[in-house]
Amino acid sequence: MYLKLNSYFLEPDSNVVIELFNGTFDRSDNVIDRDRMIDASVVVNGEKMAIDTANWFERETTTYLNFKTRSPGTYVSGVSTKPRSIGMSAEDFNDYLEHDGVLDMLAFREENGTLADTAIERYSKHVKTIFQVGDKLTEAYKTELGYPIEFIPLENPYDLHPGQNLSVKLLFNQQPLANQLVYIGSQTITVEHTHDGHTHTHNDETGHIHDELRQFRTDANGLLEAPITSEGVWYLRTIHLVEINEVGLTHESNWATLTFGVSGGHSDEREHAEGLPDYIYVIISLLLIAVLFWFFNRNK
C-alpha cells in the first residue's frame, strides 16, 4: 500500500489529491474500506490535521484523499489500517513471501522444514508520504505518527540532491527495528543504464522512465542509508512478519511504506557531476596533482 501524489512539489493553498494505492507501487488492486482506516492525517508546522472523510472518494481500484495545502513547508501524510486476517495454503503463503520479498521468513520455513504448513496471517498496513509545499523546508518530515511500524527520515528528503544518501530510521512499536529487509524503489527519468540485477523498464511514450528496486537491511540501530541516485519519485517498503502463538492465527505482519520526491533543480551537467561518487573526485584530485607535478618537474 502506498500514498502517491502526481507531484510532490506543490504550491500553498492548492488542492491536492493523494492517491492510496493498495497493491504495488505501480498498480492498485482494490480500494481500502473506509472503516479499515484508523488514521488518515497530514502534519505540517507541528500541527496534525485529520483528512476529512467527506473529502475521500473511491474510483475503480484506488482511494483518493482530497486535501488543501496551507502555508509553505514540508508536509507528511499518513494512513494506518486496522488489522485483518487471511488464511493461505502453504503454496500460496510461500509464493507471497517470495513475491513480496519476505525472504527471512521464507528462509526460516526452509530451515525448519515448515514449508508445507498453511498460514493464517493477521496483517495491517501503515503508509506515509512526504511532500513539499512552497520553498520553505520545515521539520514535519521527522514526525512520528505513532504507527506500529513506520519509516522516519533523519533528514529532510527535500534538502537532498541526487548523489546523496537519505538516512532513515525504521521503528517497530516505537523502537528501532534492527536487521530488517527494506526495499528501496524509484521511478526516475534518467539517461543512465545499469544492468547489475536491477529491474528496469522503458516507456517511450512518456520519455525514458527507469524503475529500480534495491534491497537493503537496517543496521543494529534500525538505520539505513538510502542512496538517492537521481531525481524522481522514491519509495521504501518493508514487511515485518513474525510467527505468533494466538488462537486462530499463525503469523502477524505489519507493512510500512514511505514515498517522497527528489528534485534535481539544476542543469543536466551538474546532475551528472553530483551523481558521481566521492572517490571519483578524490582520484581526479590526485591525478590533477600528479599532472601538475609532472608539468612543473619537467619545466624546472
Binding site: L154, E155, S167, L292, F296
Partner: protein, 225 residues
C-alpha cells in the same frame, strides 16, 4: 583552451567533493541525539578528518614550516581562532549563513596557495600580510563554519557548553590525526630534488580547489536565497 579556462573547468568539476566536505549524515545527528560527550568528541574528530577544506588550508600553512616548534605555533594560532568562534557562536546561538562562510573558507584555501606561490609579490607587488595573524583570522572564520555545522545537529540545549567543548576537542584530535601523516610526507619529500615541483603542484591545486569551493558555495547560496 587557455590555462585560466582549464583551471576554472577543473575547479568546477572537483567542486562537489569539496562541498561534500561538510556533509553531516543523519546518522551522526541521531548519534548526537542519543549519545554522550564521547559521541561529540567522535563526531568532531570525524568532521575534521573528512573536512577537506579545513585540512587543505592547514596543508597550505604547514608547507613553509620546517621546525616542529613553528608547526606547533601556527597550528595553535589556528586552533585558538577556530575554538573562539566555535565555542562562542554555538553557545550564543549566533547563526551565520553556512554557504557564505564555506565560500570564505574556500577563499582561505585559495589565499594560502596564492601566498605560498609568491603571487602577492608577483602580481600585486606587495608583501603578504603577516602569516600568523592571517592564520588566526582564518581560524576564526573556520570556527564559524564548524559552529554552523554543530548548531545544525544539536537541538537539545541541555549541557550545551560541555557538548561544544567535547566537539571542539574532537576537532583538535581529528586535526592532529590528519596532520601527522601529512607533515611527515611533506618533510620526507622536502629532502628530495623534486620537492620544488611538488610544492608548485600542491599549491596550484590549492588555488584550483579554493576557487572550486568558493564558487560552488556561492552558487548554492544564490540557489537558496
Amino acid at each position: 583552451m587557455s590555462i585560466k579556462k582549464s583551471i576554472l573547468s577543473l575547479a568546477l568539476f572537483i567542486s562537489p567533493i569539496l562541498a561534500n566536505a561538510h556533509d553531516v549524515s543523519g546518522v551522526d545527528r541521531l548519534l548526537l541525539e542519543n549519545g554522550n560527550l564521547l559521541t561529540y568528541i567522535w563526531v568532531g574528530a570525524k568532521h575534521m578528518l573528512t573536512g577537506y577544506d579545513h585540512l587543505l588550508f592547514l596543508v597550505g600553512v604547514i608547507f613553509f614550516l620546517i621546525e616542529f616548534k613553528q608547526i606547533v605555533k601556527f597550528i595553535t594560532a589556528f586552533t585558538l581562532g577556530h575554538s573562539i568562534t566555535l565555542i562562542t557562536a554555538t553557545y550564543l546561538e549566533v547563526s551565520v549563513n553556512e554557504y557564505l562562510i564555506d565560500a570564505i573558507i574556500g577563499l582561505s584555501v585559495f589565499y594560502k596557495g596564492f601566498e605560498n606561490l609568491g603571487l602577492f609579490q608577483k602580481y600585486l607587488k606587495i608583501s603578504p600580510p603577516h602569516l600568523l595573524n592571517m592564520v588566526f583570522i582564518f581560524g576564526l572564520i573556520h570556527g564559524l563554519g564548524l559552529s554552523a555545522r554543530l548548531q545544525s545537529f544539536t537541538a537539545d540545549q541541555e549541557g550545551i557548553f560541555l557538548k561544544i567543548l567535547s566537539f571542539n576537542l574532537g576537532v583538535e584530535l581529528g586535526q592532529v590525526l590528519a596532520l601527522v601523516p601529512i607533515v611527515y610526507l611533506i618533510n620526507l619529500w622536502r629532502k628530495r630534488n623534486s620537492f620544488g615541483a611538488f610544492f608548485k603542484a600542491a599549491n596550484t591545486y590549492l588555488l584550483i580547489a579554493g576557487i572550486a569551493l568558493a564558487t560552488y558555495q556561492i552558487w548554492q547560496f544564490l540557489g537558496h536565497s
